[in-house]
Amino acid sequence: MNENIVLQVKGVNKSFGGVKAVDNVSFNVFKGEILGIIGPNGSGKTTLVNLITGFVKADSGAVFSEGTKLTGLTPDKIAGLGIVRTFQIPRPYHSLSAVKNLVVPLYSSRIMRTIGGKLGDRDTVALDILEEIGFERDAHVPYKLASAFSEGYLKRLELARCLALRPHIIIMDELFSGLSVSEIAAMIPLVERLQMNGMTIMMVEHRVRELFQIAHRVMVMNFGEKIGEDIPEKILESEIVKQAYLGVT
Amino acid sequence: MNIFIFGFVNSVILALTASGFALVYGVSRLANFAHGALYILVGFATWLFLNRLGINYIVSILLSIIIVSVIGAGIYRLFLIRVKGMPASEIIASLALGIAIMELFRWRGFISEAYMLPPFVKGSVSIAGVMIDWQRLIIIGVGLAMMCSLWLFTHYTKVGLSLRAIAQDKHASMMSGIEPDRTAVISLAIGSALAGVAAVVILPLGNITVETGYMVLTNAIAVCIIGGLGSWAGVFAGAFLLGFAEILTAAFIGPQWQMVVVLLFIILTLILKPSGLLGKQKELEERV
């Protein structure tokens, strides 16, 4: 276990009543890299994310992060260790404004423990994070209710919610899906800036072309199995991926 | 020996009173907390037909069962249809309606012991040394027949299957041509008719009081929760478990604990196994 492995998944599998969603998957994530995860629909990508972040209990196998065993912990404890995720379908708090949406993670024990209550007014910290993510700071946008935002802003809000916890691993579940090309173009520099500041990122994506621009390594899944793990260029040519994606025999 | 017989009778009574509620809530996921009120509504209606209008017993029974199923359908059509999606408002609305009906009877003065229904057949017979009256044997007969016919109804008839389909997946069943509101009206109508049948058979044992309404509702909820929702075997198991538990506590611990046992069972089931003994309730546990 050399020191720069941040997350280790060993032989994890999960089946929902006969359907094998995740079938004996193992892989490692290194510090500060962007790991892409691709695969056709129903290949178990989201279930894998749910397994790592504790939303779903694994049938067998284990997930480790810097020595502590994650499987079996509740999602909020795993988030407390700094491993956070965004949701495939954004889950904002509709009745609260964008600023108040961020107050929730800033109220978590992780923030209280690391930086203590003296965080000053949580609203100003929330405004800083929102500005960092691309919300204009003028008096109007951050105070609109979450239900009034477009898909792009909602995705940014999801990211902001993760950043508010000062994590060291972010798992992005299809961050780019449902966004226009221009919005994705605006989102990519954000992800790169996060990675530059030492954040480890796992991106589950369908938009393969955009993913390959920023991913250091890519893992391919099909019917719950890991069928390939390599740098983007190699993955493009490999036969198994083509066969899995395009069904070309 | 007599504990077994009376335990069996008590369980069939519980199963009968709960069957209406189980069909409406268990099968089509519609919380009808006015069940107790419909139960005594049939009792008083039959009494009125019999004594005030002098109609013969069987006709007055049929008349009141038809009336109560029309009222049941009416409750859904006028009230519950508007709050169908929200379970909390469904409970509050149907509970409030039930209380309104029951207190209306109390206001009209249906309170003294004079309100009784004559049993179908008088006299009693001795089985294995225990004297048991015909009325209770009729209850056992009707109860078992009711449970089997309901099981067949929900499993093999078109309407029955559509009831279960709507409960499991509303959208999928709408795709296959089942109109949700119509099935809900049918299920409430049949549920109320079941409450009517149960009332007409059980009430001759004692007298009709407003308090029985509240008692029937508590027992029906207990049976459905303990037995588990959506499965008839569950309702049967729940009824028998509760029926014998009540009789055993009455015999050995003391009759004053009889009522406590029912309520204790509800709370224990909810804590230990929310989906009940044989229930197939998956969404009760957390799922993303």
Partner: protein
């Protein structure tokens, strides 16, 4: 969007209408000040016992007003009745309601005297404080058999002296009951009894007292079972009684569901004579309703009078008056007690010659008149009516047995019109 606003408009108009209703009622006109003596009756009108008490009081008030009312120091003043529903017998109702009803009668309707008082023990006990706070004389004439009532009055007399009770208490009732059992034991040679009581304070107290008393008399008490209010199945208890060959079944219930017990007793042909305080069976219509299944059960009336008996002349005029006005014979003992209580007040007011509470209390303590249930005398310390077996000396309870469709007085011997009969399958 149209439909949404229409709907909320209906709802809003509904609520605005509520507010106007509130304002209207808040300014209701003061009660017209006239000369009548206002008699407040806080009673649970939603229950048979409450209806009985109300009938007894209304009958008595009409009779008195027909004869010109009560002569208070020379001027004849009519009685004005103010009845309000306390709902205290209903299970789901907080006692605060009953107390509020009583208080409104005193403050709003300016009641000079309170009769009837809430029937359920816990409501009546609580109303002692309310009545004493307003210094209003009250005579309890329905329900409340629990001994705690007059004990509280006796404990701090000067604070609670305003309350009187004519319904009797479990202790003397049991005294009279034990006398009856003694004569049954002597005549029929029974010696095994099975007691079944309702889970209510006065019934539990009665059950324990009966058990001790019977065991002293040499009876063998097989069991003392306590049934929660609303039980619908007595099969276990009855089969135990049958197995242990009990000859006497002593039920002590005041809930309507007790008719289930009698039906099950009849259906299971339990060879034991049911004799006890079965309140629901006092109704004249019970025989027809249970189509004869109550045959030969003996029912205790806390006070005599609801069934006419030659030994007490006033009970005969009362029963015939009740039959003329309401078309049926009086139902339970609370009709006769509530009827007599109005006459007790009339007699006390005429002797006290004023409506001033203290003088009425003094007059009441010296009451000595014939009522529908024997001679009425109060114990000056606890304001509890004095009762034992002889109608000439004191108030008296009554045992009536259902014999082929009619209620017939069988005990105590002084007022009995027929001797005890056994159920057919017991001979």
């Amino acid at each position: 969007m149209k439909n949404k606003s229409l709907v909320s408009h209906i709802g809003i108009r509904l609520i605005l209408m509520l507010i106007i209703l509130t304002l209207l009622c808040a300014l209701n006109p003061k009660a017209s000040a006239a000369q009548p003596i206002v008699l407040g009756v806080p009673i649970s009108r939603g229950y048979p016992d409450g209806v009985d008490a109300e009938r007894g009081i209304t009958l008595a008030v009409e009779e008195i007003n027909a004869k010109g009312g009560i002569n208070v120091a020379g001027t004849m003043r009519p009685l004005k009745l103010e009845i309000s529903d306390t709902r205290d017998l209903e299970a789901g109702v907080p006692v605060a309601e009953a107390l509020l009803a009583t208080e409104r009668l005193i403050i709003e309707k300016k009641a000079n005297l309170i009769v009837g008082v809430p029937i359920r023990a816990e409501a009546a006990l609580a109303s002692i404080d309310v009545l004493s706070k307003h210094k209003t004389v009250s005579i309890l004439s329905a329900g409340v058999l629990s001994p705690a009532y007059h004990k509280r009055i006796a404990d701090n007399y000067d604070k609670y002296k305003y309350c009187f009770r004519t319904t009797g208490s479990v202790v003397p009732m049991i005294g009279a009951t034990l006398g009856t059992f003694e004569s049954i034991k002597a005549k029929k040679g029974f010696d095994k009894a099975y007691i079944m009581v309702q889970d209510v304070a006065h019934a539990r107290a009665a059950g324990n007292l009966l058990k001790e008393g019977l065991e002293k008399q040499g009876w063998k008490v097989i069991a003392l079972e306590i049934y929660p209010t609303g039980t619908t199945d007595f099969s276990v208890g009855l089969s135990k009684a049958k197995e242990a060959k009990a000859q006497v079944l002593i039920p002590w219930f005041d809930m309507p569901e007790v008719s289930i017990l009698m039906k099950q007793w009849f259906d299971m042909k339990v060879p034991a004579l049911p004799i006890g305080y079965i309140h629901a069976l006092q109704d004249e219509g019970t025989w027809k309703a249970t189509d004869g299944k109550v045959a030969s059960s003996v029912v205790l009336y806390a006070k005599a009078g609801s069934v006419a008996t030659k030994a007490i002349p006033m009970s005969e005029t009362f029963v015939s008056g009740h039959k003329k006005k309401y078309g049926i014979e009086p139902r339970s003992e609370w009709t006769s007690t509530s009827y007599t209580v109005v006459y007790i007040l009339k007699d006390a007011i005429e002797r006290a010659k004023s409506l001033e509470p203290d003088s009425i209390i003094a007059a009441l303590e010296k009451t000595d008149m014939m009522g529908t249930y024997g001679r009425v005398k109060f114990d000056p310390k606890s304001h509890q009516i004095i009762e034992n077996g002889d109608p000439k000396e004191t108030a008296v309870g009554m045992w009536a047995q259902w014999i082929d469709g009619k209620r017939v007085v069988v005990f105590p011997d002084k007022i009995a019109t027929k001797s005890l009969e056994l159920p057919p399958w017991m001979k």
